[in-house]
């Protein structure tokens, strides 16, 4: 068997990367212990925050090397949601991070900029009409692409990022109709946000609750959350590289998310 010959377009791609005609943008939040995690009522099981324990640092525990053990939940920090994460997606084949086909980890993305609306309203809801207005400006959302909701929420930190009130978190997200539109009428690959979840902070009160989780995973689609730097992406034309850790049977994982953008 002979090796496949690289296509000329892949060679061009490589050349464009080297020459800087394609820029790589890191969409990932730093994994750190103080980064907020999803807050559920305390009688539920909880997602573990990121933790780092030093094994050795050029000391008696290991004279020439520095390394750590880390621990966290699958849904800690910038992370990937596989379909199996939600009950509506539990029966799909290849619905775990280790079985999702690798070609799903590199895909184009469109960016819906709602940063202005979100600044005015923390509970901003992404509706079908907002999506349609976006399409009017940028053309139809193509099948098989990521839809990334830009809210500039990633510019916040700590308490402002979690934005917890007595009635729960107040963060933007899509309503059920918007998610159904993306999945059923546009056949997108997945939905990504800058907030702790793909759903709005108050999405528990939607019908169904947590529609982004319910419908996206219910159709075998994927989620990305805690993204950053979405303001550096064009509305269309970016390519997202987002392979999660290959955790056996995993429902998601922290990951490095990169965007390739034409300079």
């Amino acid at each position: 068997m002979s090796s496949p010959t690289p296509t000329s377009s892949l060679a061009d791609f490589a050349a464009d990367l080297v020459s800087g005609r394609i820029t790589v943008i890191d969409l990932t939040q730093t994994l750190s212990a103080d980064f907020p995690t999803i807050a559920l009522p305390p009688e539920f099981g909880q997602c573990a925050p990121f933790r780092l324990e030093e094994i050795s640092r050029y000391d008696a525990r290991g004279p020439a090397w520095y390394w750590n053990n880390f621990s966290c939940g699958e849904h800690t920090g910038t992370h990937y949601d596989a379909p199996i994460h939600w009950v509506s997606g539990k029966d799909f084949p290849n619905n775990t991070v280790d079985t999702i086909p690798a070609d799903k980890f590199i895909a184009p993305a469109v960016v819906i900029d709602c940063s202005r609306e979100t600044a005015a309203n923390h509970d901003f809801v992404l509706t079908r009409s907002v999506l349609e207005a976006w399409e009017a400006a940028h053309g139809p959302i193509p099948a098989g692409c990521w839809v990334l909701l830009r809210t500039d929420w990633s510019k916040r930190s700590g308490a402002a990022y979690a934005n917890m009130k007595e009635d729960g978190a107040h963060t933007p997200g899509p309503d059920p109709e918007a998610v159904r539109f993306l999945v059923e009428e546009r056949d997108v690959l997945g939905f990504g946000t800058e907030t702790i979840g793909t759903d709005a902070g108050q999405a528990h009160h939607f019908t169904p609750p947590y529609p982004a989780h319910f419908y996206m995973h219910g159709k075998g689609r994927y989620g990305l959350q805690c993204l950053s730097n979405l303001d550096k992406l064009p509305a269309t034309g970016a390519v997202i590289v987002s392979p999660p850790l290959k955790i056996q049977g995993g429902s998601g994982s922290p990951l490095r998310v990169l965007a390739l953008v034409a300079s």
Binding site: D34, P36, G45, R51, L52, E53, G158, A159, A162, K165
Partner: protein
């Protein structure tokens, strides 16, 4: 007492020496009584003679049945001295040091530490206190003036009054931590109150300084230790992660791991980060570092199966506290044992339940009394009494 002067940074911090610690096993009965705030001497089962110094055989009738019993602690101070020259480096730094001979009404003659003011001929009450070696010691307190001797230099070696000391309370998210902070402030301490995950809403305690501290996060603990470790005199570890559930009923380890993080790994992390500085300052000035307090469930002693995993985490914490007691010495490790708290996690538990404010007051009192173990509230005292009666019987009782 005058508030402590700020230390001269050009002078070496006085090393934390300990008084002579060697004791016979028998004499540890006094240590045990002092640790619990009691007063006990051996009494002969045959002739009722009260013994001192501790013996293995009755000094009156040669009987070998000597049991530790509460005995009347009163007596008369019949001789006293002020030691100005001593063979021991700990006492050498603390001379003049007063000791005296007390003729107890119960019989024995007892050499005891003396506070200032008590004089030959005075009626006195003997008390057993833990010294800075963690060993039981006899002190003679004036009967006429039972008030607090917290500012007496000798008594300050035996006790851990929070007044004018700097206190870290680890968990400001919990009502216990908040009430301990308030009680410490009321006792005259300066308080730093740790709050984990400050991105979640929390209520600050007026007068206490809120600091970020998450015992489950090594980096957070090290940052706290680096910023505050060198100026703390008391640490109160109030980290409680109280969750109901038996072992089989839970079916997994997720909550149990969090319980162990809160009860065991977290305090271990904090001890490793802050303990060396605390111990190194155990003789620093008039208000040296002195105490490490743990709030522990009394079910650390014997498992309450309906809270089986939680009880196990508390047993780990109790065992950790015993190790710390040796490692941190002369810092005193105080365990406040509690029954059910009057909080949301014990909603279905019938009263009596322990109010966090009552626990906070008991912790302050335990520090002032200089004890090492205190059972706070009716349930904790009941369980502790049953434990001391027979651990096996208690285990079966709790499992019924």
């Amino acid at each position: 007492m005058i508030p402590p002067k700020r230390k001269n940074p050009l002078l070496r911090t006085r090393a934390a020496l300990q008084p002579p610690a060697a004791r016979s096993r028998t004499a540890l009965g006094i240590t045990a009584a002092a640790a619990r705030g009691g007063f006990a001497l051996q009494v002969c089962a045959a002739c009722q003679a009260v013994q001192y110094p501790p013996r293995e055989i009755c000094g009156t009738c040669l009987h070998d049945g000597l049991a530790w019993r509460a005995v009347p602690p009163e007596g008369t101070l019949i001789a006293a001295t002020t030691i100005r020259v001593t063979a021991d480096p700990y006492f050498r730094e603390r001379t003049p040091w007063r000791t005296g001979m007390v003729a107890m009404d119960a019989g024995p003659a007892v050499i005891a530490h003396l506070p200032a003011g008590v004089a030959q001929g005075d009626r006195v009450r003997l008390a057993q206190k833990l010294d800075r070696a963690g060993q039981g010691a006899m002190v003679a307190l004036p009967l006429a003036q039972p008030g607090d001797l917290l500012d007496d230099p000798m008594m300050r070696e035996m006790t851990c009054d929070p007044k004018d000391r700097r206190v870290l309370v680890t968990d400001g998210r919990h009502a216990v931590g908040q009430d301990v902070a308030r009680a410490m402030l009321a006792a005259g301490a300066r308080v730093w109150l740790g709050v984990a995950e400050t991105w979640r809403p929390f209520a600050a305690v007026e007068g206490a300084e809120t600091i970020e501290l998450d015992l489950t996060d090594a980096d957070s603990v090290h940052r706290c230790a680096a910023s505050h470790g060198g100026r703390l005199e008391i640490v109160v570890n109030t980290g409680l992660h109280t969750r109901p559930g038996g072992i089989l009923e839970r079916g997994d380890l997720t909550t149990a791991r969090v319980e162990m993080e809160a009860a065991y790994f977290g305090p271990m992390r904090l001890a490793q980060a802050i303990g060396p500085a605390l111990r190194a300052r155990a003789a620093d000035g008039t208000h040296p570092a002195c105490a490490w307090v743990n709030v522990l469930s009394v079910y650390a002693l014997a498992n309450l199966p309906s809270w089986g995993a939680y009880s196990a985490s508390q047993s780990a914490a109790l065992s950790l506290s015993q190790a710390l007691r040796a490692d941190l010495r002369p810092i005193r490790v105080v365990n406040a044992l509690i029954g059910p708290l009057d909080d949301e996690w014990h909603q279905a538990v019938p009263p009596p339940k322990l109010a966090p404010a009552a626990l906070a007051s008991a912790i302050v009192k335990a520090l002032r009394d200089g004890v090492e173990e205190v059972a706070v509230g009716d349930v904790a005292q009941d369980i502790l009494a049953r434990f001391r009666d027979d651990p096996k019987i208690l285990e079966r009782e709790l499992a019924s």
